[in-house]
């Protein structure tokens, strides 16, 4: 295991400290917790947004704490949902009296821990609502399953919902916007090289030199299938077609595109993927309103990428365009 770390038990602690020290103008740490909140939290009268989950997805989620996005992010151990206690601390630290919306990625662990925290917060008189992001089209969605995972599309939910909260929408309205965004966003990912959880020291899955995993999440779990490695153009087509099969876009529909790196893939490759995504969408007459390329929702040092599409309407476009100022996402 080749990592620039000290002890594997301390990675989350030291990372959080390193973040706060890097971005004191944006972030502060809630005492006795793994919660980072805005420097000026709680923001009085504004609906507050809290997200979080296991660590290892940096810059998600604490990198998106700041103006126009999240108010707080709760970090669990690597790939492990934080506990209700931690999440409750986050909720209390950001509540500015207008209620708190939890943005939860759809994993049993995250959902259960956030729900328990929400119950505890409500018992303390804080108004809490929650939305569950489930953008991964690789996963079968049926009443018998837990449904789809939440992956990179979550960042678009942070952006848009954060803009709504910043604009002064009330809790119901912020939740409505979040749910609309979730309904409109789809993602699919692939990987060439697995990651290594520091405390485990072994690759999260085995894979051949000529193979790739298709349809995988962000916790080092294997994908839905292994395939022979393909070209960037073919990979873009596979991921995009799965998304388009599911979301049924029509000619002249407008979308935001996100080409997200999983941590170990260089930006060069993400742009090469974007080149083809753009071509394929243009061929179908789908209009690309905005494109975001980079490492936003990662899986440690995993090599791979995901593609997300968000179908836009006028409201979502305006919210997507509005100002954001966080450590990892800024927009003038």
């Amino acid at each position: 295991m080749k990592k620039i770390i000290n002890k594997s038990e301390n990675v989350v602690e030291e990372m959080l400290e390193g973040m706060v020290k890097a971005h004191p103008q944006y972030l502060k740490r809630v005492e006795d917790s793994n919660v980072l909140v805005r420097q000026n939290s709680p923001v009085k009268g504004k609906v507050a947004l809290v997200s979080g989950g296991g660590s290892g997805h940096e810059p998600a989620h604490s990198g998106f704490v700041g103006l126009g996005m999240l108010d707080g992010a709760v970090a669990g151990e690597v790939f492990t949902s934080p506990t209700p206690e931690q999440i409750l601390k986050g909720i209390k630290a950001v509540d500015g009296g207008a209620g708190v919306l939890l943005i939860i990625k759809n994993y049993s662990g995250d959902v259960m821990n956030f729900e328990m925290a929400s119950e505890l917060a409500q018992m303390e008189g804080i108004q809490v609502e929650q939305v569950i992001v489930n953008d991964d089209v690789a996963v079968e969605d049926s009443t018998y399953t837990v449904g789809r995972r939440g992956i990179a599309g979550t960042i678009l939910v942070h952006k848009i919902t954060g803009a709504a909260a910043e604009k002064g929408f009330d809790l119901d309205d912020v939740k409505r916007v979040a749910e609309k965004t979730i309904k409109n966003v789809r993602t699919m990912g692939m990987s060439l090289i697995p990651c290594i959880v520091p405390a485990v020291g072994k690759p999260s899955f085995e894979i051949g030199e000529d193979e790739m995993e298709i349809g995988l999440g962000i916790h080092g779990e294997p994908g839905i299938r292994k395939e022979k490695i393909k070209t960037a153009d073919q990979i873009a087509a596979i991921l995009l077609n799965n998304i388009l099969d599911d979301m049924k876009l029509e000619k002249d529909d407008e979308v935001a595109v996100m080409v997200n790196g999983l941590g170990g893939t260089p930006l060069m490759e993400l742009y090469i993927v974007n080149n083809e995504v753009n071509k394929l969408l243009s061929e179908k007459g789908i209009k690309i309103y905005k494109t975001i390329v980079g490492d936003y929702m990662t899986s440690l040092e995993m090599a791979g990428a995901s593609i997300s599409l968000l179908k836009l309407d006028d409201e979502l476009k305006e919210l997507l365009d509005s100002k954001a100022d966080t450590p990892a996402f800024r927009q003038l």
Binding site: G76, T80, T83, M112, N113, T145, S204, E221
Partner: protein, 210 residues
Amino acid sequence: MSSTDLLIVILENMGKNIIENKDYLTELDRVIGDADHGINMSKGFSAVNDKLGEMKGKDWGYILKNTAMTLISTVGGASGPLYGTAFLRAATVVDGKMDIDHEDVVNMFEQAIEGIKARGKSDRGDKTMLDALIPAFDALKAAYQNGLESKKAFQMAEDAALEGLEYTKTIIAKKGRASYLGERSIGHQDPGATSTYIAIRSIKETLEEN
């Protein structure tokens, strides 16, 4: 030994076995999950262990509730809320009791299972801890109905849990992270069912030794 002291020894032994199997549980989770189940469970049971001293002399409900809260506030992941809920629900059955009977044991397991089902929106056959716990419970209940003693009854529960654990290898995961693998989850043993099997085996072991 008083029955609450016995409970403390059971929890101690459970922790010891979970911690001993940390790498094994993590490895099972690496294959079809995210490689943390052993880490999560060990962390939780270490924390429980640290608190067992203060629990001495307290009633069944108190001990189980404290165990539950400790698991909930230290484990995280899916197993934290699920094991936590299981212990919490079991605690409600024996609140204030310094001693319990077979009916209490059955009720505790029944409540624990209901708690997991409700929290996890899951059921038998989903390839989760329930696939070890429900068969164990059925065997336990049947054993008591047949007039067997706890030692023997938990032996039968352990056997059933092991059978359930083996069964998890043959089915598709419908809940938890392994469910994302779909068909590829077949052939692999569920980590949570494994920790549950270890927990039940730990009860039997302690009963045998005391």
